[in-house]
Each structure stands twice: as C-alpha cells, then as structure tokens.
C-alpha cells in the first residue's frame, strides 16, 4: 500500500543541514502535510521526494506497479516521464509552471501532448473539460494566462497538472500569496478534486489551517529533521514536541 517512501535522506547546503536523516512513507490515496517554519527544510524535502533535488545520501522509493523502487534507478528520462504523467507538481507561484505566452488551452494541452496525446480535437475537448473542473469559463480557452488573476492562474495550473490523471501530486504552498477569499476557493477546489480523483498528495505548507483542512497525516519539521508526526488532528490538538506546541500556539484564532 506504500506508494512513496523516503529513507534516511540527508542533504547539506554549505553549513546548513537541510535534511538530516529524514524518513517517511506515503500510502496510496493519502494526503500528507509537511509543516514547519521557513528554513525548516520542508521545501527541500518536497524537492527530494519529487526527484527535483538529489539527496546527498538516502533514497526515495516509488511503487509504480512493481513494488518500491529507488527513483534514482529510473534514469533522467524515466524520471521525467514519471513527472510528466503519473506525478504532478503544483508550485506556489503558477508563473513557474505555466507558459504565459501560450493560451490557457495550450497550457493544458502541452502536458497532455508531453504524456503522448496527439489528437487535436480530443486535446481541446479535454482542456475545455478541465477548465470547467477548476471553475474557469471554457470560453476563455484561447485567452492568455497573463490576463488571468492570481487565483485563476493557480486554478489553471491545477488543471494543467491534473489533466494527465496523476496518482501522486506534490504541492508547494498552493495557496500562499493569494487573498484569503481566493484561498478558500482554491482549498475547496483542491479538497474536492483530491477526494474525487483518489490522489495521493504531499503538501508543504506553513499554514496549519490548510493542513487541518486537507491532510490525513502531518509531519512537523524543524532544522532539517522531523520532530513529530501523526494524525493531523491529533498532532494539532495534542502536540507533544516543544516546537509543535509553539507552532500551534502561535496562530491567531479567527
């Protein structure tokens, strides 16, 4: 049932120990949040799990159907193929993922074509369908994302990621930098799509409200290490580690 596993990951940037003996595993259909302050190593961990950064030592393993295999053995091409189809990655800033000079439909279609689709009519229909799924008027299929609001761009990135039907999606602060009202809409959208599609998700966030809303399970990172982990509501309502207690008690009640 384990889909992704990290074993004793180690990563150093100069004198900074970004990952220090980090191990975790993710089950199919499970939503795992990684929380911690800036510099805790949570983004480095996401980067290592998704194959974007190679750890100094340790391994990331993925079960693509034949049991857990180290992703380092897939080779560059194999890894890229995985990242383009069965995995997805949602950036905090959609401009990092989208091509602003390509239409909304084109942005969605590109990922489909990278995954092997060729029939233009089908690609366009699928793109329109996904625009609708993320609550963008399909009539805007030929518009350029540079004319979209921040929230719309984020929704377009989500559509362009999910169009290939990935089973595992990495999310890096998907609602960071958005207005709260826009945040609520994106969160609601993610929550529904994730459940409907049965996705496994690794979500990095510094917002424990987001973690509570979306995640089944939580790991808390500090200075490159996991200091606490468990069921989301258990860790947040009964935090044991000093740092988790600080994190939970630092939130202003709404």
């Amino acid at each position: 049932m384990t889909l992704l596993q990290a074993q004793n990951l180690q990563k150093r940037f100069g004198v900074i120990e970004a990952l220090n003996d980090v191990s975790l595993s993710l089950r199919r259909h499970e939503i795992l949040a990684i929380v911690g302050e800036s510099g805790s190593g949570k983004s480095t961990l996401l980067s290592a799990l998704s194959g974007r950064t190679a750890p100094d030592s340790g391994a990331v393993l993925y079960d693509g159907g034949n049991g857990l295999q180290p992703i380092s053995e897939l080779g560059e091409l194999g890894l890229r193929r995985l990242q383009r189809s069965r995995w997805g990655y949602i950036h905090q800033d959609p401009r990092q993922a989208l091509r602003l000079s390509v239409t909304a439909g084109g942005n969605i279609g590109e990922r489909l074509m990278a995954a092997g689709a060729r029939h233009y009519g089908n690609i366009r229909d699928t793109a329109a369908h996904w625009l609708e799924a993320v609550e963008i008027d399909p009539a805007r299929i030929d518009d350029f994302p540079r004319h979209f609001s921040g929230g719309m761009m984020q929704r377009l990135q989500i559509a362009a990621t999910l169009v290939t039907g990935p089973e595992l999606v990495f999310m890096d602060e998907p609602t960071g930098g958005l207005d709260v009202s826009v945040q609520a809409r994106i969160l609601d959208l993610i929550r529904n799509l994730v459940r409907k599609l049965g996705l496994a998700v690794v979500l990095v966030t510094h917002d424990i409200g987001v973690a509570r809303l979306l995640a089944d399970r939580l790991v808390v990172m500090r200075r490159g290490q996991i200091v606490e982990s468990g069921l989301t509501d258990q860790v947040l309502d009964d935090p044991h580690h000093e740092y988790t207690q600080l994190l939970v008690s630092s939130v202003l009640p709404a």
């Binding site: 089950r27 499970e30 609520a184 809409r185 969160l187 609601d188 809303l213 089944d216 399970r217 468990g230 069921l231 509501d233 258990q234 309502d237 009964d238 044991h240 580690h241 000093e242 207690q245 600080l246 008690s249």
Partner: protein
C-alpha cells in the same frame, strides 16, 4: 456485547512553553461501554471528562493504557493503531459530536452533513437526501441547507454538527455537550435520536451537563475526580 473497553489510561500534558510544567489528567482511568447503553461522564470541571472522550476518539494520545474498540467484528486498540486504522475506525465505527462545528468556507450545511455518508461510499443523491431529512428533523430551515454554516447562530451550528453525527448509524458515538446551546424542542429531539441509536445497538458515551438529558438518556454514570497536583 462490549463495544468499547478502555483500561489503565494515563495521560499527562507536558507544557514545554510553560517551563515544562506537567499536568497529569488521567490516571488508571477506564471505561466499558456495551452495545445499546449510554454512559454519562460526570465530575467537576477539570476532572478529565473531555480528555477521556478525546482519547477514546484518538484525538489525544494517551501515555499508556489500551482502548479496545469493536471494529469490523474484531477489537482494535486505538491507542496503538496506525493512523490509517484510526481513520478507518472513524469512518465506520466511531462517531464524535464536538461542542463546536468546524465550519469550512464554501461548504454548505447539507454537504457537511452528507460528508460522512459519502466517505462510507454512499452515492451523492441518497447521502444528500438523508442529510436533508436529518437537518429537517433538527429543525434547520430548508433555506439554510445550501448555505455554508459559517454565519449561522451557535444553536444552528450545533444542530448541523448533530445532524452530521446522527445521519450515520455509528456503533459507538461519543458526545461532548451535545445539547449545550439548544432550545427544549431540539433538546428533546436529540434525546430521541440518542434513544433511537441505543435501540439499534449503539454504545453512547457523553458529557451532558444538563441533568434532564442525563436522566432521559443515560443508563450509567461514570464519575471522574480531578487528580492531586503531585499525584
């Protein structure tokens, strides 16, 4: 038939931000709940009633002891169960009514109530139908069903919370002050719902400050006393 049996529970809170102060709350606590029975947790404020209830749900982690819950025909120890097992227990076996509704932006009252049915695999239409019927039974006006309860009154929110709990047939249902902000008519409805659950074989464990509710629904009282500071 025993539905839940907890024994030798120890729970202390270590407050790292208050110089590591240690607050012991449960010591050798235990409870046995049988199918068709309602247990009222009583005792003064600070005696650990809510802590015990939350521990039974796996929301608080006990330091030691066991909490065996009958789940899919076998006893599972929620104090030692893996997260996915706890989630499976909460999906099928263990219901929980908190004091306050955690309303989500943009999610309607109807969808909040239907959610536990959908998680059990029911189809949307029948889940919504049951949710609407339960909301109606708790006198939540139909014009509110499609609105997110963020702006509802305290009593309306609590009724949404109750509808969410009673829409499913839980084998074990935990209730934390379910009638605190209800008028007499709705309180009577909750008592009727609790008694319905008991007659279909559910075990109920709750904190009911309202003596009227205790007398009308509880079969057994379990009294907790605050621990001595140096215990």
């Amino acid at each position: 038939m025993i539905a839940l049996q907890a024994s030798n529970l120890q729970k202390a809170f270590t407050l790292h931000l208050q110089n590591g102060t240690c607050l012991p709350v449960l010591q050798n606590a235990g409870i046995t709940a049988r199918a068709g029975e309602c247990i009222a947790l009583t005792g003064p404020s600070g005696a650990g009633k809510s802590t015990l209830l939350r521990a039974l749900y796996g929301n608080y982690l006990v330091d030691s002891g066991s909490i065996a819950v009958r789940h899919r025909g076998a006893m599972v120890d929620i104090a030692k169960a893996a997260p996915e097992q706890v989630l499976s227990l909460r999906r099928e076996t263990l219901g929980y009514v908190s004091q306050f509704l955690r309303a989500m932006p943009r999610v309607s009252a109807l969808d909040i109530v239907a959610a536990p049915l959908l998680e059990r695999g029911e189809d949307q239409a029948s889940a919504r139908e049951k949710a609407a019927a339960m909301l109606a039974r708790l006198r939540v006006s139909p014009r509110l069903h499609n609105l997110p309860p963020v702006t509802f009154s305290g009593g309306e929110q609590q009724r949404v919370n109750l509808a969410r709990a009673f829409v499913c047939d839980w084998p074990v249902l935990l209730l934390d002050e379910p009638t605190a902000s209800l008028d007499p008519a709705n309180r009577d409805t909750v008592i009727a719902l609790m008694n319905d659950s008991k007659s279909r074989g559910a075990a109920l464990i709750g904190i009911f400050h309202d003596k009227f509710v205790r007398d009308a629904a509880a079969d057994v009282e379990l009294r907790l006393e605050p621990l001595k500071e140096d215990a």
